[in-house]
Symmetry: C2
Subunit: 452 residues, 2 copies
């Protein structure tokens, strides 16, 4: 019997755990679910005979050692900055590990060690990064296999609410802190042969409209460092390389107002935060002046109309109300997150939605210019089997199966850009209706839209 250890029974674990349990009898797996909250881990297991919930504190080396040493593969759903603790323990006992997080560049220093120990260490195997790599590489490899020359690659992804019914057209369907701090490191991409660098405080101005399966109520803004995927995807020579994040139209401009206010700042703690109100927080970010009209002062500071749509949507958040910040030691970003968690809460009947779209422009072997658009739109099933939980969890589960059955036997650091990995994963994802729609059209060269 092979043992799989899933670390973390939180939001994105349901579909992964269900998948592993369903396959456990056939493949003779024992599945351990570790969490600080033992009851939560037990709930997710639904009494499956091949499953076992364990109390797991990642900061206890003793607990890490005792469980990892008995395991064949670890699937870490921990926050990105804690994977290193699991990886350290996996290295000690030569165990495989998989996560959906971005691969930190500095991990490459350890690669030879991983290889020597026969470990597979797979990163970026969730949705974005994850399914985006797999679905993009499949088409890139196909184009290149037919002698095509890729000119431009753009790829955008978003986790949204399908039943969108609030003024921001956005709710939290995944980690709220990641949403509030999104883009902090700025973004880098390549467009029409030119490298582009965008600092955080101007990132959300860079949003552009994008149409997905006939719905043009979307926009995309640059997501982190796209340039590093130039070499990863083998596209060093191309003119345009852009990875983006999708939101409903207008969101980026609204979010930018919060950035301009200073409400996403996370580098300092507000004095006495539990005794101040959101109105006072907003005041503390504005220059001092004679006027006591906070809305007027905000509108003027943001250079927007006092009765503008933007101001109405900011007011809807109750940022200017005498409403207490409920936590001590909050940074502006933490205080904002707390407010948004209330305002952007999913209703029991809300469903989430994943949208992803790639656009490839290439020259065929016959010297024609062609554009392939490939898109995924997926709506969640229920509150625990959200589209996010499915698209993050299932690739991890399938990758674990492929490693345990020897179908993936690449050692060292791996991200899912190789056909022996993406082919079987994408194929199995189709059974869960996670499938891309593809269309191709010939275009006149130089006729592609400037950004998307």
């Amino acid at each position: 019997m092979k043992k799989i250890f899933v670390v973390g029974a939180g939001l994105s674990s349901s579909s992964l755990i269900d998948y592993l349990m369903e396959n456990s009898t056939n493949y003779e797996w024992e599945v351990l679910i570790g969490d600080l909250d033992l009851e939560l881990a037990n709930q997710k297991l639904k009494n499956h005979p091949n499953g076992k919930a364990v109390y797991f504190d990642v900061f206890s080396e003793e607990i890490r050692n005792s469980i990892v040493s008995e395991t064949d593969i670890v699937i870490s759903l921990l926050p990105a900055d804690l994977h290193y603790l699991m990886l350290e323990t996996c290295l000690r006992y030569s165990k495989n590990m998989i996560t959906a997080s971005y691969l930190p560049d500095e991990l490459w220093k350890k690669n030879q060690e991983f290889i020597d120990k026969g470990m597979t260490v797979m990163y970026e195997c969730g949705l974005d990064p994850g399914i985006d790599h797999m679905s993009a590489m499949k088409i890139l490899d196909k184009i290149r296999g037919e002698g095509g020359n890729i000119l431009s690659f753009k790829s955008s992804t978003g986790g949204l609410v399908a039943t969108d019914n609030n003024p921001w057209n956005y709710k939290f369907t995944w980690n709220p802190r990641n949403v509030v701090l999104a883009g902090k490191a700025g973004a880098q991409y390549k467009q029409n042969g030119k490298l582009k660098y965008v600092p955080y405080h101007r990132l959300f101005e860079r949003a552009e409209p994008i149409k997905i399966e006939e719905d043009d109520n979307f926009e995309t803004y640059p997501n982190r460092d796209s340039l590093k995927y130039l070499s990863v995807y083998g596209l060093d020579h191309i003119e345009t390389m852009y990875r983006g994040t999708i939101r409903r139209s207008g969101f980026s401009n609204l979010w930018n107002q919060l950035i301009k206010m200073g409400l996403t700042e996370d580098g300092f703690v507000l004095e006495n935060s539990k005794n101040i109100t959101y109105r006072e927080l907003s005041e503390s970010l504005l220059p001092e002046g004679k006027s006591s009209d906070i809305k007027g002062k905000v509108a003027s500071y943001l250079n927007i109309g006092i009765d503008s749509i933007e101001m109405n949507k900011l007011e809807w958040l109750e940022l200017f109300e005498d409403k207490k910040i409920p936590i001590e030691g909050a940074t502006p970003a933490i205080a904002l997150q707390k407010l948004l968690e209330e305002k952007w809460k999913l209703n029991p009947d809300d469903k989430d939605m994943i949208v992803m779209q790639h656009e490839f422009v290439f020259e065929t072997i016959q010297k024609e210019t062609s554009k392939i658009t490939s898109s995924l739109v997926l709506t969640g099933t229920d509150k625990s089997h959200t589209a996010m939980a499915m698209t993050v969890g299932l690739p991890l589960g399938i990758a674990a199966k492929l490693i345990l059955t020897g179908q993936i036997n690449k050692k060292g650091i791996v991200i899912p850009i190789h056909s022996e990995i993406y082919e079987p994963i994408l194929k199995e994802l189709q059974k869960f209706n996670i499938a891309f729609k593809e269309s191709e059209q010939k275009i006149k060269k130089g006729n592609q839209s400037p950004l998307l």
Copy 2:
């Protein structure tokens, strides 16, 4: 014979070293000057018989140990983030240490250890922080000693060029990297009873005019965290607590344009920076568009007129010219610094200038409201005895003397806010013409200007 070890023979060391050498015969000191550049250290000593230049590499533990163990007091002129190496060695051999840098909060954890070892560890003993604390505390203590109740305290300092003759009215008279990265952590202050938090990307908009000794061509913007000095100065109850940085009028608005462009970003490296020009760097920060008119694009991105004064001054920097960035692996901030080092270079006949001004508003024991203004304007003597070198170096030298002669015998972490420290230092500084002008006027309560 007592031994003094000065670490660093750079820009701000000349006045300090001269002071120590002049006093060395009288007090029987041997003064060691350590630097990576032995010749530079020797130049500064001018063959004084009590001085000795030594090769010093702060990263060599062996070298640190061998010198510090033989020393009575270390004066560290290293960059702020390297003091910890000297302090670690001072702790090993129970030696005193003095620096002009800001005291890191986390150092308090070590305070009991310093006390137990009988060490004096003095921080913030230069100009700003340093002379600002001393001159402010002297007046604060006097007002409080006479039963006055302080309502407002504002203090601003700037290192400028006296002979200002370029369009920015600014040249580098101290560490260029510190100038380029100034304000990165934002600022915090208290005004009219309200706490104010300002993120970096809006900091330079917060500048206000300030008049110093009849010259009203100055402005001040908030400097770091003023709030932490509320308790340090014993002013927890006051309505306004503001520390600022002084520049010539208009500078902050210009600098803010560079921030808005993204030219002060320091978190990522430009690809292939040695093969691109400043024009290409500027282009890479702008959104892609059809226009090839870079000045038009910049003006539009910054929302300023294409023929505005701001644009003319940005153009004067040659930011939009086909001029190569001379270094590889540059961040935007490093590339900008390199350009400014050329544009803002001091001419041989340029003199620097220090300006500092405190404003105290208080209620006297007779319930009258009064305002004291205290200001310092100091012009440098020559290229090595700049006003900056004098005002940073002399307080360090005097403090060293006071510690070695037992006049300062406070143990543990000390900043110069106590009368037994500031009185003798301020008194001796007067001999070097570093003296404050003071004026007092009765004011009607509520009649003070909003910020300064």
